[in-house]
């Protein structure tokens, strides 16, 4: 570990045995007797490696179940990796949950000192900081009430105040920004900024992409336990949003057909031949459709359609309509589709491709809504597609 590194995570994996089996002794014994097959395992974190430099703020984004919270728990050391090594340098304070570790029957005051003690901070120092904590949490009149009577906002305010005021070297925050009102939200952001200025290291999980983009130096993008990327906030958030959109369209995907001809691959590219999945309004889109025919197929028809991200068809056509005659195919080959001057509005569009017989009776292979393409557009209009329009005043 180099001197300027605050956190080093090396090839860390965390595997959970899925529940439902072997809870009681009886089941354990029965399992042994039956010599059951391996229980189902879930890789919550799968071979993740990264380092965080001292003074750096790292945002962590990803869908639910991406492993964000598991990662923070590993860094807090409440759970331990199945494989790999985690090193942290300096005192770690973590907010894994609003008011984590608070005891409901104790008063706010007692919980503050409990938290301080858990962090290993001398009582003397906690006394000095106590007023600042109460002040920050805005709980002056309630600090001697049991925390079980607190509202969830008060709870998290106190939790945040303590975690911050214990003056850690590394602060881990899990989705705290989502709770609390706007005023507290701002207070938190200000405090985090102050932390940054003081050269502290922070790891933040949030679904509030705008905030996390503003506050992070770099962003770690996780998906299903795997590291999808680590880099500039804007790039990572773009990738995350892209993935989310693609995921959301998965329900519209369908693959069917006799399989006599298979569409093996579709490559989208611009006029320059460079592969891409984002196209600008008004530009040209090329799609090379690779196929493989098992035997000689006479007069096949290749078709395509474009749908919006809710599965509504915007446009569809085929080689027959376009007047392209393909006498027969056999083995591997490819056809190229060109869409001129894309008229679509900005957003995600789903391409479908198909190959079927000339009389439409036999569908050899259809891939419905399987190819998401992002369209960017700076034009201002409503709807899916741009229609050149002119207005004039009748004289």
């Amino acid at each position: 570990m180099e001197a300027q590194d605050a956190i080093k995570v090396e090839n860390v994996s965390k595997v959970y045995r899925l529940a439902g089996n072997s809870q009681s002794l009886k089941q354990k014994v029965l399992e042994c007797l039956r010599r059951r097959t391996q229980p189902r395992m879930l890789k919550a974190i799968d071979d993740v490696s990264f380092t965080v430099k001292r003074g750096e703020t790292l945002g962590i984004i990803g869908a639910n179940g991406a492993g964000k919270s598991t990662l923070l728990s590993l860094l807090t050391k409440t759970i331990f990796p199945s494989e790999g090594v985690i090193e942290t340098h300096g005192q770690v304070s973590s907010l894994l949950e609003l008011g984590a570790g608070f005891h409901p029957d104790l008063s706010g005051r007692e919980n503050v000192f409990l938290y301080g003690a858990i962090m290993g901070i001398p009582r003397q120092r906690m006394m000095q900081r106590f007023d600042a904590i109460v002040e920050f949490a805005g709980l002056k009149d309630f600090i001697d009430q049991p925390v079980k009577h607190y509202s969830s906002g008060m709870y998290v305010r106190l939790g945040f105040a303590v975690a911050v005021e214990v003056d850690p070297d590394i602060l881990l925050i899990d989705e705290v920004l989502a709770v609390g009102d706007a005023a507290f939200h701002k207070k938190c952001i200000d405090k985090m900024r102050e932390f940054r200025r003081q050269g502290k290291t922070m790891l933040i999980i949030s679904h509030d992409l705008q905030t996390i983009q503003r506050i992070s130096d770099r962003i770690l993008f996780l998906d299903r336990g795997r590291m999808m990327g680590l880099g500039a906030p804007k790039t990572m958030i773009g990738e995350y949003e892209g993935l989310t959109r693609r995921r959301n369209t998965e329900i519209y995907q369908r693959e069917w057909g006799t399989g006599e001809v298979m569409i093996t691959c579709v490559v989208f590219h611009g006029g320059d031949g460079v592969e891409r999945d984002t196209f600008g309004w008004g530009g040209d889109l090329f799609a090379t459709v690779h196929y493989q025919a098992k035997h000689v197929i006479d007069a096949p028809v290749f078709g395509f359609s474009v749908s919006d991200n809710e599965g509504r068809v915007v446009h569809g056509s085929n080689t027959q309509v376009a007047g392209l005659v393909i006498p027969w195919i056999d083995g591997e080959g490819a056809v190229v589709l060109r869409l001129r001057e894309l008229p679509m509005a900005a957003g995600l569009f789903l391409f479908s491709f198909s190959v079927h017989s000339a009389d439409h009776r036999v569908n050899y292979h259809r891939l419905d809504n399987c190819f998401p393409v992002t369209i960017t557009c700076s034009k201002n209009f409503e709807g899916y597609a741009y229609m050149p329009s002119e207005w004039s005043v009748l004289e």
């Binding site: 409440t78 759970i79 331990f80 949950e97 938290y115 003690a117 009582r123």
Partner: protein, 260 residues
């Protein structure tokens, strides 16, 4: 470990506070329950004429019961030493061993309060209590046993919830195997004198014997044929339990966060 003394202290206070939370007498229950304990056994022993022909049977019984209760409460509380702090274990990092330790410490404090009442009572009925100054030593040995058991039970209950059910039966069996309401001689008469140490494999035999010996020695007939070896046996078992406990806890604590 020294670093964590404040956390230990806070948790001890919390355990004591939570125990009497909501009750109007609060902490006084720690003093009141031994008084009631003595009263109930006095009435019970008189009505059933248990103390006939047995000098100082009531004192004998009360000491035994108080000593047993300390162990029983530790055993019971240890089930929840870790399980009752899911929030802390899942969300914060600190040496987990503090949880059972704090639980035992809280019970020790409670036990000391019981002793205040008990000693007052023994003084009133004129027990000699010549070796009172050795009481802390016996208490320490018993606390060691309690801590060892707490380590085993608190960690095993996390993984095997059956611990809770097994413990109830186990504690009852242990109670009858220990010379609490009967003198140890009753056990020894089943054993050849050379094998007397076998009875002391149950550490509570040695511990209960020591407490009574220290507080009632001249009033109670001396136990014949209990050599030092017997007490050493009990002490060794206590230490072995502690070592097993430390070992078990150390090896399972990293998985607490996964299971809870």
């Amino acid at each position: 470990m020294w670093r964590w003394r404040e956390l230990l202290w806070i948790l001890v206070c919390r355990n004591l506070k939570i125990r009497y939370k909501g009750s109007s007498l609060g902490f006084f229950w720690s003093l009141l329950s031994p008084v009631l304990l003595i009263l109930i056994y006095a009435i019970f022993a008189t009505i059933l004429r248990f103390n006939e022909g047995r000098p100082h049977y009531l004192q004998f019984l009360v000491i035994g019961i108080a000593v047993w209760q300390f162990l029983a409460m530790c055993l019971n509380d240890s089930l929840y030493a870790v399980m009752g702090n899911v929030n802390l274990v899942k969300k914060t990092a600190f040496p987990r061993i503090i949880l059972p330790l704090a639980m035992v410490c809280a019970n020790v404090i409670n036990f000391l309060l019981t002793w205040c009442v008990l000693l007052l009572y023994l003084l009133l009925v004129g027990m000699p209590m010549q070796y009172l100054y050795l009481l802390p030593v016996v208490l320490l040995v018993q606390a060691t046993l309690c801590f060892g058991m707490a380590l085993i039970l608190s960690s095993s209950n996390v993984f095997l919830r059956d611990t809770e059910h097994m413990l109830g039966i186990g504690t009852l069996a242990w109670f009858f195997l220990s010379p609490i309401f009967y003198p140890v001689e009753m056990q020894l008469q089943f054993l050849p004198s050379k094998a007397a140490w076998l009875a002391f494999l149950n550490p509570m035999t040695g511990i209960a014997w020591c407490y009574r010996r220290l507080l009632m020695s001249s009033a109670m007939p001396d136990l014949q044929g209990v050599p030092v070896a017997c007490l050493t046996t009990s002490l060794t078992v206590c230490l072995v339990v502690l070592v097993i406990g430390l070992f078990t806890f150390q090896h399972t604590q990293t998985k607490f966060g996964d299971v809870l």
